[in-house]
Every structure is written in C-alpha cells, then in structure tokens.
Symmetry: C2
Subunit: 265 residues, 2 copies
C-alpha cells in the first residue's frame, strides 16, 4: 500500500483540493484508495459530501480512543473510501499532548491492515502540530502542494526541517516525493521567479542525505480553474462535477505521473 | 485605542495580506498603528521585512515570558510599528496549555498601555487555538476576511461560535465588525452565490444577541491582483510597492470604510 501525506502548513495552497481530486483520479484509474481527513475543519470530508453525525466514528475516535481504522471509513465512490474528520479533532492537540508515543497512534492503527488499499492519502491541516506529526509518522511519502507565491515559498524551509526531524526520530523511511504547483497562473512573472527558486533549491539538495534529496517538481501543474472551487459545494470531486474541464485534466495527469513514479509498494 | 483582530481559521483567505495593508493604509492616513503578528509562520513580519533575530523580543517572549509590549515592537514606517512573531511561537500552544488564565496573557500586557496607538491590528494563524484565543480576548472588534468560495464559507459557523464562547466567558464586549470579501473574481457565479448566502445569514442575525448581530459585509471588496502577492517578497506593503494599483486602491478604501465606522475609542 502506498501511503502519501499531502502537506503544507501554509494555508489555502490547495491541500484539500489536491487530496480529494488525486484520490478520486486514482480510484477512477482502477486503484482502491482511502482518503483520511486529518484536518479539524473536515474539508476533505465535506468536499466528498460526508458530514460526521452522532454515532459515526471519525478520526477523533481513531486518535483518542484507538478505534480500529476498519470501523472509521465509509465508501463514497466505487474504489474510494473516506475516514472523515470532525470539529472535535481540534481538541486532540491538547488531549494527546501527555500521551506516550502520541505521534505513533495513527501509524499503529494503519499498520494493523497494511494492505487494505492500493493507496492511502492523508489531507492535513495548515499546521505542524500533533495531527500532522501523526500523518508524517504513518506514511512513506510526502507531496507538497505549493502556490507559486512568496509567502507560500517562505514556509517551505520549516516544513522540510520538520520532515527531517520526523525521519531522524520517528519514521526513517519517510521521503518527500515531490512538490506540485497549484493555483497556477502560468503567465505571471512571479510564477517564473518562484519556480526558478524552487528548482535551484531542489537541484542543490539532489543526491544528499535529506528526505527531499530525490524530490522533484512535478511536470503537471494545476491551473487555476473556478470549477475546482465550485465542486465542493456539490459534495463531489472534480470528476463527478465537471469531468472534461482543465481541473479534471490536470489532476488526472498528476495522478498518472505519481502512479508511474513507483511500483505499487 | 481601537483593537481589531483579523481572523479566519480557513487557510489562505488573505488574513496576512489584509492585516499588513490595512495597517499600512491607516498609518498612511495619519493614524498611529501597531501590527501584532500572532502567527508562528511570521508572515506579517516577513511581509514588512522584519525577521526575528537572536536577542530580539518577539510575540513568544510576550506570551511565555510576559515581556512588556513596549519592549517587543519595532518601527517600520512613519506611523507603523510591528510586534514580530517567530517559529518558536508554535511551541506556545503546548507550553501555555497548563497556565492559569492562558487566554488573557496578551490582554493584560496590552492593557498596561491602553492608549499607546490609535489602532492595534492582530494577524492570526489559520487555527482557533490558544494564540487566537489570546487575540479574541484582547480586542474589541473582529474583522473576517473571506474568500467567496464554498470551503471558506463552510467554516464560518465554527468561527462565529468561537467568538460567541469568548464573549460569554472571556471578553463580553467583543463584536464582529464585519466580513470583507478577498481574492475576489467579481464576475463568477460562485461569488454571487456565496455573497447571497452570506447576506442572508447576516440579515437573519441582525438585532439579535450574538456578537455578530451588527456585523456587515463591507462594501469594499478586495479584487484579486498579482501585485498583492508580489509585494511581500520586497518586504513592503502594497503602498510601498505599487501605490496606484487595484490592490492599493481597494485597501485604502477598506481602511476608510473601517475608520468611518466608529469614533476612535
Ligand atoms: N486550481 C484551483 N483553481 C481554483 N480554485 C482552487 C484551486 N485549488 C483550490 N482552489 C480553491 O482555493 C481554496 C483553497 O484551497 P484548499 O481549501 O484546497 O486549500 P488548503 O491548503 O486545503 O486550505 P487549508 O489550509 O485551509 O486546509 C478553496 O476554496 C478551493 O476551492
Ligand atoms: N487580493 C489578492 N490578490 C492576489 N493575491 C492575493 C490577494 N490576497 C492575498 N493574496 C495572496 O494569496 C496568498 C494567501 O494570502 P495570505 O497569506 O494573506 O492569506 P492568509 O489567510 O494569511 O494565509 P494563512 O492561513 O496561511 O495565514 C498569499 O500568497 C498572498 O500573497
Ligand atoms: Mg484543507
Ligand atoms: Mg497569514
């Protein structure tokens, strides 16, 4: 099972949009996929029309009550399952702060079913707290959505530093698979400057010992497309809402590029 | 002194862009302004060219060591001061979790100098944790930047609920002054739908007992404008970088609209 976290502590760079549409594109290509929502905002859940109701098990139950993964997921499309989040999850940061090995709770629950799916994708909150540490400890790969803006690039150093700490102390096999440009206006000067900065940075790190030594800038870039902002209100991925628009084309290409990168683990 | 928090736990809706450019527009209009950066990403600080160095007092010192406000601010423009943030602030969430009255630390430090400035503006992180609670406890007004997208509107209920709890338990005079539409593409159907939903919601609440009963949707809307995304890389507000562009016009208008709303407290 490939285990991928979609992560960037900068807010609003397209983490949820990428998680949901990547999961849907991969399940459309015949892979069995589970999307795990680790954001208390529960936007990945809402994006696929899932709202946590009383009695339904969510991510909160997994982390705070160690409810097995099997009991917290729902099927939403033929090959796609979702483990929903809820607002209670916001309390987990403080509730878990005293627990032994608090960063490893999710890893242990996922490892109980190591081949439950072909791919597992985790949508993270805009922070590097205990929820995100649980994600980084339980996956093998990180994909970083990045809007080609200065403030988004500014935080990349801290994000990579955190993955490096997790590799040293919690999860030695963790790697950054790549960075995907999102919300792209391909013509602007700013985009070119940011892309140049980023390529230079990744080039310099190549072959070193860091978790991002083999990271690449994905060839597929996600163009700005209003239909990607409209589809969450219908509880559908872009493939269920507007399957022929630029957004669907870009995410299908990105899914293909990621699936071609590695043999299924 | 008017005390305003710029707040929305949804990521990437323009909190930092609004805080910095509003502060700069108001200081340009002759008001003395202090911008306080409560986000561990320290983007408001970076936007104005301030990077916390060793030995410099930051927001972390204020909250964890109760360093007086006077010792943590720097002047960056003729009428504009900044209390910078730093990455250490991310640790404050757990470090403060056991402290008595942890939400009131900032309020007490600011109340030691109740008339230090005409206006104080707080930029918040994309979360509703202890840092944001400190902001809500120490201000009188909340301004909510909102991108007219479904996922941004989705979280508004939780944000308002949190302001209501703060009003009940920590800060009885807290009010939501208004919502400002940011990153606006005025032509799209989605914007019209979101604006209608929002107006209907605010209309229904009018005259009630909630902190948002008098909240309005500001007439000024902030249009999408690439220069607003370029200026942070020069360490300047939009007024220092491109004073005649749409972004500068929109934020100058918004500053006027807010200053006209209330007599200076
Ligand atoms: N390529 C795109 N074109 C147009 N709109 C987009 C695109 N990608 C994302 N959006 C919209 O931009 C906003 C931010 O995206 P999204 O919520 O996915 O980011 P995020 O990183 O998950 O945010 P958060 O930090 O709050 O979790 C959303 O309203 C989304 O609908
Ligand atoms: N009106 C605008 N036009 C174009 N770009 C904008 C506009 N407002 C903000 N931006 C850009 O959009 C991105 C998000 O804005 P910003 O960082 O201010 O949001 P935020 O809510 O503070 O994010 P976070 O949740 O990470 O704190 C930034 O790269 C910023 O430069
Ligand atoms: Mg998200
Ligand atoms: Mg910000």
């Amino acid at each position: 099972m490939r285990r991928i976290a979609i992560l960037n502590q900068k807010g609003g760079v397209g983490k949820t949009t990428t998680s949901v549409n990547l999961a849907s594109a991969m399940s459309g290509a015949g892979k069995t996929v589970c999307l795990i929502d680790l954001d208390p905002q529960a936007h990945a859940s809402a994006h696929l029309g899932v709202t946590a109701t009383r009695g339904m098990n969510t991510m909160y139950d997994m982390l705070v009550r160690q409810t097995p993964w099997e009991q917290t997921r729902l099927q939403v499309e033929p090959n796609l399952w979702v483990t929903p989040s809820s607002l209670d999850l916001a309390a987990a940061e403080v509730e878990l702060s005293g627990m032994v090995g608090r960063e490893m709770i999710l890893r242990d629950l996922v490892q109980a079913e190591p081949n439950a799916f072909d791919v597992m994708i985790l949508d993270c909150a805009p922070s590097l707290g205990v929820l995100t540490l649980n994600a980084l400890t339980c996956v093998d790969e990180v994909i970083i959505p990045l809007q080609p803006h200065f403030l988004a690039l500014h935080g990349l150093g801290k994000l990579l530093e955190t993955t490096s700490l997790v590799t040293k102390r919690l999860n030695p096999t963790l790697k950054v698979t790549g960075v995907v440009l999102t919300l792209c206006d391909l013509q602007t000067k700013l985009t070119h400057e940011i892309v140049e900065d980023l390529c230079r940075f990744l080039e310099k790190a190549r072959g070193g010992k860091t978790p991002w030594a083999d990271a690449e800038l994905f060839r597929t870039r996600i163009r700005r497309n209003i239909k990607l902002a409209e589809c969450p209100s219908f509880g559908k991925s872009i493939f269920g809402y507007a399957p022929t628009c630029n957004g669907a084309e870009d995410y299908a290409l990105l899914a293909q590029e990621i699936l071609n990168l590695q043999p299924a683990v």
